[in-house]
Amino acid sequence: MAELSFTLNGQAQSLTVDSGTPLLWVLREHLAMTGTKFGCGMGLCGACTVHLDGNPIRSCSYPAEFVSGRHITTIEGLAAKDDTLHPVQQAWLEMNVPQCGYCQSGQIMSAVALLATNQSPNDADIDAAMSGNICRCGTYPRIRKAIHRAAELSVQYYQPVTNAEAES
């Protein structure tokens, strides 16, 4: 058995699971956080992507005991506490990205990680960051557009308000 203590979307979690249990199943079964999806179990499709201290990992192949003491962010933790969507989620809505939607949690987590390190990715950057996430419905063209759109939104989102704007 493995004792786990980690931070999940800003909240402390402590639980005991079988040694070797992948993080995905701890999230989905022990914690009933089902936004993170099971797709392949081998890290091939990206449906299970979450952030470990801000970096994207494939939770289906990541033993949960390795996350002890660290911060996990899942799709449920992206929006602000007042439900304001993350710019990537907002862009996903504007571009009507989801079809069946099953892979989109993983797609969004990969895109958020990309934009965290590269605020204006070009198509080649997007290709490199997103080719580990499979979408069977074929939403890739919209994912590409939505990442560009999220980059615009992020700039607006994070830009400090100038005096002129504040006065108007």
Binding site: T34, Y102, C137
Partner: protein, 725 residues
């Protein structure tokens, strides 16, 4: 002009029965309509029919009688209802419908989502249901205000009159006694506010925040997770098993034989999966031992010569087929659906009832299948549908629901059955392999005949035997079901659809079909027979154009009727894609194909480096009648192109000794974002009723791509996936 819909003529039956306080109306779609209660009926709601209710608080709830698997019915059907209620689709609450006879499809006679038919076949039904509700609400408001009904209108979910507005909730009491109108007037297309204009996606917010509930996300208190160890040989069964080591593992509750597979029941998925690897099983390889996809291909080639088959189409006189004969053999492999959400179901079996939570395309068929397998009565089974993490035809089958119900029944636990990706890849109902001999006669420079002979297994032959209990009364004996399956197989429309009934005009046309008896399990795969037959026909038409030294577009146009949809979409795609003027270093291919009553033409632009095909751009033109949600139509075309690119460039399921060789996404690869071309979609404007969009984007892609490969290399690739020598 306004469209008046005569409900009586449509077998619309009227009932003034007050049930649960609701005003009840039913549609008699298939001659077997039952009275209420309707699924998800709220006793305090005003419920005018199986589709729509208004709650006491004034919330409008639509029962989604089609399964949302990405194709957009959640938004599309709501848009239809919204139009007649004059309120934004975003204001309507949507619930997954449980089975009810009124939700049966007027063409398939079961409650099913398939054949790209949801919007087409619901276009009148859902609008009429909403118009009826609208009429009753207006009539009730008029009665309460003592004004003429014509002075009441609907706006933004409220009833508007000269003196102000009334909420729906405030007229429900009066509405219960309003007689159901004999006639309802549907909104004229030129007055549409939402149909043709609404471009949001109502299910998107939940899907970008992780809150959308798929079958695999269903939580049932104290449910155990089960995994099944199936024979690696399709159709094989366990002879014996040893579970001593597995039962000693953490969390394991039970290991048992369930209809020839071994179920491992544990507290969690991971525990069940770990324990499954500790079970040893001795397998009977079953009926497909020694069968391989290679031996089946050889058999099909032999059958092309040895069997004459059944004539499916003959147009013109054989004597017109003058000149030299050319013939070529084309061939396609088995394909898996590979939905992103692996198969799963939650099943709870009680002494008198079975409840199942899952995402499925055909709850009507599944109810019968579960009843048959468990010995329960069909009326004792309930299915609660969820969002589907992809369907593509895979979830028309009931196998995974039946498995969950049987594990629950035999183990005594509430069960959540979860398949692994390997289970999914190796236990699919595959797109059939198929071989065709395409032939033509050419006299001088004129093509005088176009002929095809198909050898393929029959989806119908497998499917009808399995579903006929649903379609026919219980007293029909099993033997007759099998006979019907045999009849269906000998003229399986799926085997030749898309090869026959084409608009191409040649003096003589003929198609024959030879059924291949031996096959692994096969099923309906996005665009079904069109997925291979468009490749056969549109590649061979390209060959004929080259043989007669004509431009492939001009050749097609000169053999199509003047006013045909084919010509319209071909001319449009040629213009949009600058046909004949590719980018430097690129080569173009073109194809057109009608399926599910919609016409799609595509131009694919590629370059070739060594043996690597790079797809740069796909221009797609679709004529699908009125586009209810235009952006969803565009998305379906984009998705169809990408689905077809995966099949054309990568897809192949192979079988050795009855066992599928591929297991996961490393050896059954999907197109990825970095390989995705630019896709441009144009919808031909039309006021005709809507036709299919979920599947028609798939068929033309493979031939357009293969034709581009020929343009680039001079190599004519007649097998999928496309592999350059």
């Amino acid at each position: 002009m306004s469209l008046t819909s005569n409900l009586s003529r449509r077998n619309f039956i009227k009932s003034t029965a007050l049930l649960g306080g609701g005003l009840a109306i039913g549609f008699n779609l298939s001659g077997c309509s039952k009275t209420p209660p309707y699924p998800n009926m709220n006793p305090t709601s005003l419920q005018t029919n199986a589709f729509l209710q208004v709650t006491a608080e004034g919330e409008v709830i639509l029962q989604l009688h089609k399964s949302e698997m990405g194709q957009g019915v959640y938004t599309g059907l709501t848009t239809l209802a919204a139009e007649e209620l004059k309120m934004s689709p975003a204001l309507i609450t949507v619930q997954h419908a449980e089975f009810h006879p009124d939700f049966r499809d007027p063409e398939f006679y079961v409650m099913i989502t398939g054949g790209s038919s949801s919007i087409r076949l619901s276009y009148d039904t859902v609008r009429e249901a909403a118009a009826t509700l609208a009429a009753i609400l207006k009539s009730a408001a008029a009665q309460q205000l003592n004004v003429a009904e014509s002075s009441i209108s609907l706006r933004d979910g409220k009833l508007v009159h000269a003196g102000g507005e009334i909420a729906f909730a405030d007229v429900i009491a009066t509405a219960r006694s309003v007689p159901v109108p004999e006639l309802v007037t549907l909104t004229s297309p030129q007055d549409f506010q939402y149909i043709g204009h609404f471009n949001g996606r109502l299910d998107a917010l939940a899907k970008v925040t992780g809150s959308s509930q798929f079958g695999i996300d269903v939580q049932y208190p104290k449910a155990m997770t089960a995994v099944l160890i199936r024979s690696p040989h399709l159709g094989g069964k366990a002879k014996s098993f040893d579970a001593i080591a597995a039962l000693a593992k953490s969390g394991v509750r039970s290991v048992l034989d369930v209809d020839g597979a071994i179920a491992v029941v544990a507290d969690t998925y991971w525990q069940a999966r770990q324990a499954a690897s500790a079970v040893t099983v001795e397998w009977d390889k079953g009926p497909l031992a020694n069968v391989s996809s290679e031996s089946l291909r050889t058999e099909r080639y032999d059958l092309l010569d040895s069997e004459s088959g059944k004539n499916v189409e003959e147009v013109g006189e054989v004597g017109a087929a003058t000149g030299d004969t050319i013939e070529e053999i084309y061939d396609v492999p088995y394909l898996a659906h590979a939905t992103m959400e692996p198969m799963n179901a939650v099943a709870v079996v009680g002494p008198e009832s079975i409840e199942v939570w899952t995402g499925n395309q055909s709850p009507d068929i599944a109810l019968s299948a579960i009843a048959d397998a468990t010995g329960y009565k069909r009326e004792q089974v309930r299915i609660h549908n969820q969002m589907l993490g992809g369907g593509f035809g895979r979830r028309i089958l009931s196998d995974y629901l039946v498995e969950a119900a049987r594990v629950a029944q035999l183990s005594g636990y509430p069960i959540k059955l979860v398949w692994s990706r390997e289970d999914d890849m190796q236990n699919d109902f595959y797109r059939p392999n198929s071989t065709v001999r395409m032939s033509a006669t050419i006299d001088g420079n004129n093509v005088t005949s176009l002929q095809s002979k198909v050898v393929a297994p029959s989806i119908m032959g497998q499917f009808v035997g399995a579903v006929s209990n649903t379609l026919m009364p219980e007293w029909v004996p099993n033997g007759l079901h099998n006979t019907l399956a045999g009849l269906a197989a000998s003229s399986d429309p799926a085997a030749t659809e898309g090869l026959i009934s084409s608009e191409y005009q040649f003096p003589y046309k003929r198609t024959d079909y030879v059924m291949q008896e031996t096959t692994i399990p096969i099923g309906y795969w996005r665009s079904v027979g069109h997925s291979q037959n468009a490749f056969f026909l549109e590649s061979f038409v390209d060959e004929l154009a080259r043989r007669t030294e004509q431009d492939p577009l001009q050749f097609r146009l000169s053999h199509l009727p003047a006013d045909s949809k084919q010509r319209r979409v071909l001319e449009e795609v040629a213009k949009r894609a600058s046909w004949g003027s590719p980018e430097p270093g690129q080569f173009q291919g073109i194809a057109v194909h009608e399926s599910f009553k919609s016409m799609v033409a595509q131009v694919v632009s590629i370059s070739v480096e060594g043996t690597k095909i790079k797809v740069h751009k796909v221009v797609c033109v679709v004529e699908c009648g009125l586009a209810v949600n235009p952006d969803i139509v565009v998305a379906q075309m984009e998705g169809g192109v990408i689905f077809a690119l995966t099949a054309a460039l990568k897809g192949e399921i192979t079988v050795v000794d009855g066992a599928v060789q591929q297991s996961n996404f490393h050896n059954y690869e999907m197109l990825r974002l970095n390989e995705t071309p630019e896709i441009e979609v144009h919808i031909i404007e039309s006021a005709e009723p809507p036709t299919g969009v979920g599947e028609p984007g798939v068929p033309p892609l493979a031939p357009a791509l293969a034709n581009a490969v020929f343009a680039a290399t001079g190599q004519r690739l007649r097998q999928l996936p496309l592999r350059l020598a």
